[in-house]
C-alpha cells in the first residue's frame, strides 16, 4: 500500500492550514519519514513561502497535471531535510487547472516512494477542497476556538462524511490556556464535545509562530516553541504513536506562571 495520503483542510480561511501542513511535514521528516507536501491551493500558493522554498520553484502541480514536466522535476527538496519535498501550486492559474483524478494520479505515483503525502487544501467547500480530499486516506481539520471557525469545521466534517472520507481528526489551533481558564475562550473539551470528532493535536498560541513564517523556517524547528512541540506531537500521533495530551498543556501553563512570578521578582529587586 505504501505511503499515507493526509489532507489538511478547514473550511474557514486563516485558521492555520498551511502552517500546520508545513510543521507536521517537517516534524514527520525529523522522525525519519519520507514526506512530500503538496500545495493544492492553486492560484494562491503559500506553502512555498512558509517553507522558505519560494526561490527554488521551477515547475508546479499544474505543470505535472498537464504533462509539462516529470513529477520529480516539480519536487523541491528542503534545505535541511533531504527526505522532505514540496510540490508547489501554480500562482497564475485557478482551481479548474487541476482535477480530482489529477490529484489521485499524483498521489498514486508518490505512494510507493514516500511514507507520507500531506496535501494543503484551499479554504472553502468548492472544487479546490474536493480536489484536495479526493486522494486522502486521512483528513485533518484545522480550527481555532472561535464560533465561526468551529461552525465551518462542522460543515467540513459533514461534507467529509458524505464523501466517504469522514469524520477526520481535529487540530485545534491557537488555544490560550489563560483565556480558557478565565472562561473567555472555548476549551479543547468544548470543541470536541461540539464537533464530536477525535482530536489529534492542540496547538497553543505562541509568539514564535509569526517570526517563523517571517523567516520561512517552520516553528517546529525551534525547540523553545510550545506550538512547535504540539506539531511534533501531532506528527508522532499521525505516525501511530500514542502521545498523551494533558501533561504538556497543564505543566506548561503552570511553569509559565512560575517564570512570570520570578521574572517579576527580579525586576522588583533591580528597582529596589
Amino acid at each position: 500500500m505504501g505511503g499515507k495520503i493526509v489532507t489538511i483542510t478547514s473550511g474557514k480561511g486563516g485558521v492555520g492550514k498551511t502552517t500546520a501542513t508545513a510543521n507536521i511535514g517537517v516534524a514527520l521528516a525529523q522522525l525519519g519519514k519520507r514526506v512530500v507536501l503538496i500545495d493544492a491551493d492553486i492560484g494562491l500558493r503559500n506553502l512555498d513561502v512558509v517553507m522558505g522554498l519560494e526561490n527554488r520553484i521551477v515547475y508546479n502541480l499544474v505543470d505535472v497535471a498537464e504533462g509539462r514536466c516529470k513529477l520529480r522535476q516539480a519536487m523541491i527538496k528542503h534545505k535541511l531535510l533531504p527526505d522532505l519535498h514540496l510540490i508547489p501550486a501554480s500562482q497564475t492559474r485557478d482551481k479548474s487547472a487541476v482535477s480530482q483524478s489529477d490529484m489521485i494520479q499524483v498521489s498514486d505515483w508518490l505512494r510507493p516512494e514516500v511514507d507520507f503525502v500531506l496535501i494543503d487544501s484551499p479554504a472553502g467547500i468548492e472544487r479546490g477542497f474536493r480536489n484536495a480530499i479526493a486522494p486522502a486516506d486521512e483528513v485533518l481539520i484545522v480550527t481555532n476556538p472561535e464560533v465561526s471557525a468551529v461552525r465551518d469545521a462542522d460543515r467540513i466534517i459533514g461534507l467529509l462524511e458524505a464523501a466517504g472520507k469522514g469524520p477526520g481528526k481535529l487540530v485545534l489551533n491557537r488555544i490560550r490556556q489563560d483565556m480558557v481558564q478565565k472562561g473567555e475562550m472555548l476549551s479543547a473539551d468544548d470543541v470536541t464535545d461540539i464537533l464530536a470528532i477525535k482530536m489529534i493535536g492542540i496547538v497553543p498560541e505562541d509568539q514564535f509562530v509569526v517570526p517563523a513564517s517571517n523567516k520561512g523556517v517552520p516553528v517546529v524547528l525551534n525547540e523553545e516553541s510550545r506550538a512547535g512541540l504540539a506539531y511534533h506531537n501531532i506528527a508522532r500521533r499521525l505516525n501511530g504513536e500514542n502521545v498523551p495530551f494533558l501533561p504538556l498543556e497543564e505543566e506548561d501553563g503552570f511553569l509559565r506562571r512560575l517564570t512570570r512570578l520570578f521574572s517579576g521578582g527580579n525586576q522588583l529587586l533591580k528597582q529596589g
Partner: protein
C-alpha cells in the same frame, strides 16, 4: 498560583460565566440548524404533518404546541411538546364509545 488552586478545586472556576459560555450556546444553536438542513417552510410542513398524525389519536391543544431543536450530550434532537386533552371526539373513537 490561581491555576494550581483551581486545579485542586479550592477556587471556584470562573469559567462558566464568561463569553465562552455564550460561544458554546450559540454554536449549539447554529449547528443544530446547519445540521438539520431544512428550510423554514420544510420545518413548518414537518410540524404540521406530525400534528396531523397525533391528532388522529388524541385531541391536541394546537395553540400550545412547541417544536424545538436541542442538543443533549452527543445527540441532535427534535423535541416536540404537544399538550393533548383527554377527550377525543373524532371518528376514530366513536366506535368504541358506542360499542
Amino acid at each position: 498560583m490561581a491555576g494550581l488552586l483551581e486545579r485542586l478545586g479550592l477556587l471556584k472556576r470562573a469559567g462558566r460565566g464568561g463569553s465562552a459560555a455564550s460561544a458554546r450556546e450559540r454554536l449549539h444553536f447554529v449547528l443544530l440548524h446547519d445540521r438539520i438542513d431544512l428550510s423554514p417552510e420544510e420545518l413548518d410542513r414537518m410540524k404540521k404533518e406530525i400534528l396531523e398524525v397525533i391528532s388522529r389519536y388524541v385531541a391536541v391543544e394546537s395553540d400550545r404546541v412547541d417544536f424545538a431543536l436541542e442538543h443533549r450530550r452527543r445527540d441532535n434532537l427534535i423535541v416536540a411538546e404537544v399538550p393533548f386533552s383527554k377527550q377525543k371526539t373524532g371518528p376514530g373513537q366513536v366506535g368504541r364509545e358506542t360499542g
